[in-house]
Structure formats: C-alpha cells, structure tokens
Subunit: 457 residues, 2 copies
Amino acid sequence: MLETLLLPDLREMIESSDERGLHEFCEAFYPGVTANILSHLTPEEISKVLNKCHVSRKAEILPFLPIAMQVDIVEHMDRNDLSRLIEEMAADDRVDLLEQMEPEHVENLLPLIAQAERRDIRKLLSYPDESAGSIMTTDYASLPKNITVKEAIAKLRLQAPNRETIYYIYIIDEERHLLGFVSLRNLILANPDARLADIMQRDMISVKVDDDQEDVAHVINRYDFIAIPVVDQDNRLVGIVTHDDAVDVLHYEAQEDQELLVGVQPLEENYLSEPIFTLARKRGFWLIVLLVAAVFTAKVFQYFHDTVEQGAAITLIDRILMFLPLVLACGGNAGSQSAALVISYLSTLDREVKKFTVRDFWKIMGREVLVGGMIGMTLSTIAFVLSYWLLGLVAPPIVVSGTVFIVIMISTSVGALLPIIFHHYDFDPALMSTPLIAAMMDMIGVVVLFNMARLMG
Amino acid sequence: MLETLLLPDLREMIESSDERGLHEFCEAFYPGVTANILSHLTPEEISKVLNKCHVSRKAEILPFLPIAMQVDIVEHMDRNDLSRLIEEMAADDRVDLLEQMEPEHVENLLPLIAQAERRDIRKLLSYPDESAGSIMTTDYASLPKNITVKEAIAKLRLQAPNRETIYYIYIIDEERHLLGFVSLRNLILANPDARLADIMQRDMISVKVDDDQEDVAHVINRYDFIAIPVVDQDNRLVGIVTHDDAVDVLHYEAQEDQELLVGVQPLEENYLSEPIFTLARKRGFWLIVLLVAAVFTAKVFQYFHDTVEQGAAITLIDRILMFLPLVLACGGNAGSQSAALVISYLSTLDREVKKFTVRDFWKIMGREVLVGGMIGMTLSTIAFVLSYWLLGLVAPPIVVSGTVFIVIMISTSVGALLPIIFHHYDFDPALMSTPLIAAMMDMIGVVVLFNMARLMG
C-alpha cells in the first residue's frame, strides 16, 4: 500500500537529488518499513537514497533488506562511507553482510574499520557455519555483580546505545564467566539500592558457541526467551543469540526440510535468486538416483511379466510398459519439486509481506521451462542408455526417453503453475498437493507414452 | 539430562508428600525447565507437585506444558484452587487453557473468578479462531502521553508485576486510542524530565483485532518486534501479540502446509495425540479422491492400449496392468503421508527438546498398522467396486483390490519406519524423502501386483 503511494515521489526525489526530501524519508518510518519501500528500487537508486541518510539510520535500515540486495547496494558505496556504515551496524548484521561480499573487497575494507570493531568482526567471522557463534551478536549488556540497581541503570545508560538488546543484562565476573542475569523488567521493578548479586537469576539456560544453530533456536523458542547467552568451553560469555535470528533459523530449517522432502538438495538462496544451473543440479541429483532405481523396477517388471505371460507373444508395447513406473515417477517427482519450490517461495512472500507480481510469474515460468529442459535432457539421455542396456533393442528406449523428456517439461510447468493459480484466487497454494500433481502427471504420462509408442509402431 | 537425574527423587517426594522438597523443586528452576521435567510424570502426579507450589509460580509453569496435558492436570484440581490459578495466569495463556476445557466445567468455574479477570476472559474468548484477537494478550503496559519519563517509570513499577511484557510501553489517550509507543530501552536512556509525548515513536505498526493470525505473525517476524499492538476499528488499543506466540503460529502454519503438501487434512493435535479414527479420515480423504482420479487414468490406459494393440489378444495381465498407475499411486501416496507425518513429529520433538523413546516407536508403528489397515480396507473396497464397474470382470478387480490393501499396509509401515531409522542414526529424517519412498513402493507394488495376478491365473 504505502509502497505504491510513495514510490513515484521517491523516484522524483532521487532524480532531482532532493537532499532534504530524502533525508526526511529516511527518518519518517520504522527502519523495516523504509527498507520495504526501498526494496522496490534498483540497488543504485537505493544507495542514492541511503547516501542522504544519517549513518546510524542507514545502519538500521540496511539489514532489513534481503542479503543479496545489501551486497549489491554496498558495491555502489564509497569505501570510506562503507567502513563508517559497517562500524555502525549491529555486530551480527555486519558479519552476515561481510560473509556474502567478495573476500577481496572485505580485505580492502577491514583496514579502514576501527580496531575494536575489526577485531570483533574477525572473531565472529571465524565461527563455523550453522553454529551458535555464526548467528550470535556481541552487542549485549553485561554488568558486574557487586553494584546496586541504581548504579546498574546508570551504567546501562552508558553501554546501551550500542547494544542491540538490553532486555536481559548478563552478570559476569572479571574473567567474563557468566554468573546470572537480570531482566530489564526486574531491574526497573527492583529496589534501587538492592545489589545485582541479590536480585539476579542464577539458574540460567545458556548455549555453547559451537552448538548447532537449530538446537539454539529450539531452546529460545521452547522457553519463550528474547535472547539466550552464548558461552565458550569455560563458561565465559562470548555473545547472545536474539529471538529474531532464532526465528530466521527455524524458517530456514523448515524450508530445507520441505526441499529435502521432495528430493531437492537445499537451496542456498531463495528460489528466484538461485542460479538456474545450480537449481537444475540440485533438483537433478535425486531425480537421477530415482531414475536408476526405476530401471531396477523395470527389470523386476520384465521378469515377472515374462514369467506370468509364459508362452504369450511379447509385443513392443510390453517392452515399453515395463518402463511405465519409471515414466510416471519422473513426471510425479519433477512436478512435485516444482510445486514444493513455488509453494515455499509464495509463503516467503507472505512472510516478507510482499505481493506476487506479474513479473514474478514470468520469471518463475521461464525458470521452470529452462530447468525442465535441462533436467529433461539429462534424464531422457540416461533413460535411453539404461533402457537400451537392459533390452538391447532401440525402439523402446526411444519411446521411453522421448516420453521422459515431454513428461518432465509438462510436469515442471504444471507443478509451478497450479500453486500460483491457487494463490491468485486466495486459496492456500499448499492445497495443490504433490500427490494431486502426481495424479495428473500419471494421466498425462500414460497418454504421452502410448502416443509415442503409436508413432514408433 | 536433568530430567532423568531428578525424576526418581521427584517421584519419591510425591509419594512421601514431601511438602518442603516439592516447594523447593517448584522454585529451583526457570519455569520452562520445571515444566520440561514434570512432563515425564502423569497428570495426577504433576497436579500433586503443583499443589505444593506458590500459586504465582504454578501459573508460570503450567503454560509451558502441552495444552492437552494442562487440561488433564486441572481436572485433578480443587475448583477454588483452580480459580485462583486462572486469575494468576497470563491473559492469553488462561484463555488458551479454558478454550480446551469442557464448556460445562468452564461455566462452573467462571463465577469463582474475580470480576475483572472474568470480564477479560469473556472478551478474549469471544474473538474468532485464527484471528489476532484469539492469540493476543491483554497484559500490556500503557501510559498517558503527558507525563515525564520519571513519572512513567514510577507508574510502570505499579503496573508491571501483572504485565507479560513491558518492553514496549503503549501511549494512549483517554479513549484508549493508540498514539505511539516507547520502548523500555528508550525510557531508560531518556532524560528523566522529558515528556513521553516528546520521546514516543508516533509512526507505529499495529494490527487489527480481526486480522488473520498468520499475517500478524509475519509482520512481527518481518520487523523483528518483541510484540505488536492490536487495535479495534477505531484504533483503540485492545491487546498485544507477543513474539513467542507469533513463532507458535508460524510453526503451526508450516506444519499445516507440510501436511497439505502430502494430501493430509491438517491435524488438530500432534500426530501421536490425534485419535486414530480421525487420523485415518484425514489421510483417507485425499487418497480416495486420488484413487478415483487413478481410475480415470486406468480407463485412458485401456483405451490407448486397445487402440495400439489392435488385433492382438487381450490377456488377463493387460486388464490388470491398466491399474498399475493406480496401485503405485496408492503405495506412494500412503507412504509419503506416513513419512511426512513422522518427520514432522520428530522435528516437533527437537523443537521441544525431547528425546525419541522406544515407547514412541511402538506407538507410531502401532498407529501406522491400524491406520494403514483402515485406509487399506476402504481403498481396496472402492478399488474393487470401481474396477468391476469399469471392466465387468471379476478377476482383475480381485487382484487390484488385494494389491491395494497389501501395498498400503506395507507403505504406511515403511514410510514411518525409514525416517525413524534415519533419526536414530542422527541423519536428517527428511533425507528419507517422499519420492524415495515412492520409488521403493513402485518396486514393491510391481512385485505384489504380478504375484497376485499369478495366484489368480
């Protein structure tokens, strides 16, 4: 709503370099809303707008944009401006960004960044992927135990402006061992002269820096925490993981599970940003494995068929029908993959409170045709080779591999199209379930196989 | 870990009614941890433990238990104790509980509850399912705009003990219209003499009380909020939705999507709590629809087969093979359903930081055999009737319906078993993808179909 109203004005301000107007735009909304509006512009336009924002505001807005867009935007920035921006960003957000930038670019940038931040960045960059360390932030509030509530509040006033969250304050000793915590709520409610040692909660749930990120997210979620402390092997506080990052992990893992469930190797990026070739490879891998399995099924079919029909003449059709399960599996599997990926993409749009556009539609259909073509070519070639190897005849392999190609081309398009239609008419796209698509593809597969056979015979 | 260490001691304390020990146990841990330990006991034992807790502690622990268990526990409580407990519980937690209790029980209970809480309960109970109103809480902090920061903190001290979250403080006028908000963080950092009207954030994101709960969860998540205000049609503040309830909604919706994706109508409860008959019905619905679709495919097969093989003798096997796609679809679909449900159940265990027990294993296998039997009987009967209607012959329908029954019995067991084995050996159970299970069932389906045909012929 807001986006469509503001975009024309915003574009005009960019063209006329309206410094005051753009600055006002930066400050007018909650940073996430500003980012939502900006996401409709090109990276170059966005960097022009952000140039007119105060650096601290810029550091708040940027992390709300998709990470690939962030990388594109910072490429349009002056190195000095960028190093100031990175100093201002929250510790976890900036590391997320730096991890996606060209390593060379990062190495050139780091010397320009203040020492304290630089050390912090190097440390956070060093934790293994998918560990608690890789999603934690070092922006947290910590205090010693031997001060009063009044002193604590005064100290927080000094610490807090740079802290992503001060809703839990961690109590540590001189060696940074974690002793307990006080929630900001309890601090406000406590007697100003009480000592932190007396009001702090000692029974604490913390995670280790090398714990799996999914486990960490589950713990935060299980206990309804806003944040959880992360400690090293000696129980020294090294960071915190906040609830919003935990939700992102859970979403990412759920999406990974859904992809695995239809035999797609987990995507790195969202469906529309993944390079087409990578997408074809990640979808093709299991399809090839399943194709090989289906060749064994064909062999089993052949054995039983010839045993049961002993004496009867074996026709060309008999030799083709033994591959029927293979053909139907290819169509069902490829179609299910398309449907599951598109359904998951549509739910990501909902999650990011975005609309599905006509441009998205053509992009998706274009991808499915291309990916379908690549997978179809590969699988039909393999199907040809394996069925020829099995039979030593030429006609059935031609029919089978031709059918595999056609069925895969149809199934990827149909699998992608149906959830989009459901979404458009405000039904849950997941209603267009994978078995339903498989059932359609069964019918289409039978029709194509027999017609190919008719052409041959 | 902790659970297994503490349970024997805890059981002994319950048996000897060790009042002091049980009271200490209630206070020793974070409420979520206490709930986790208690969840290994029977509802009767749990209510004995909770009886020894202070009512405010009891109100904190109870909501961390699964909702069905909460209902069982409160059935063991004295009505007066229960009404005190309900008064103490957070507004959204108690409504969640009351919604699941017998309506009659609730009506008997309400007169015992203090008037303010009773009015609040009636109001929250009145919002439609899956709306923002149904997941919001009325425990929030609100202040007028014309007071200073110092006065605000003093007022919060009075309001806060009963408020689930005071991290955002909402600024309202006399008619409760929402004007803006101040985070507790900014309140602490602000000059004590500043007026709230001058430091509050006016640009606010709020949701309407009848908005869909999924959209509300997406907004909270999109902007990394801890809570979001809920307003009525006149922009009057009526409640807030907190981040932890938003995550629960997202999880619930993701699970629903995953169930729909394999053609299971969304379960009300978790897989192991759903009554077997309901489970069979929710899985059977789409399987029957897909079976009918597969009968059309068989008809199409018959038409093309007889056209292509014109002149050749039509054998019994030909009349059976036209149902091959139907048989394979039944096996693949039923197996995929079992796999997806078990995978989703296993991930719920991870989410609740629970272990998979041998008892769970037998429960799951028992359910799958029973549900498989019910679905198998139904589908094989329908398959018999429809294939007889199609052909007017008796032999092929007997083979087809027999095969459908056997294939479904095997596929539900295999579909459930394989993810459990993967989970046991610490692989991601989702790797045992639905197409892989379908591929196995294809092979098994072919073997069973031909062997049934051999028996007949």
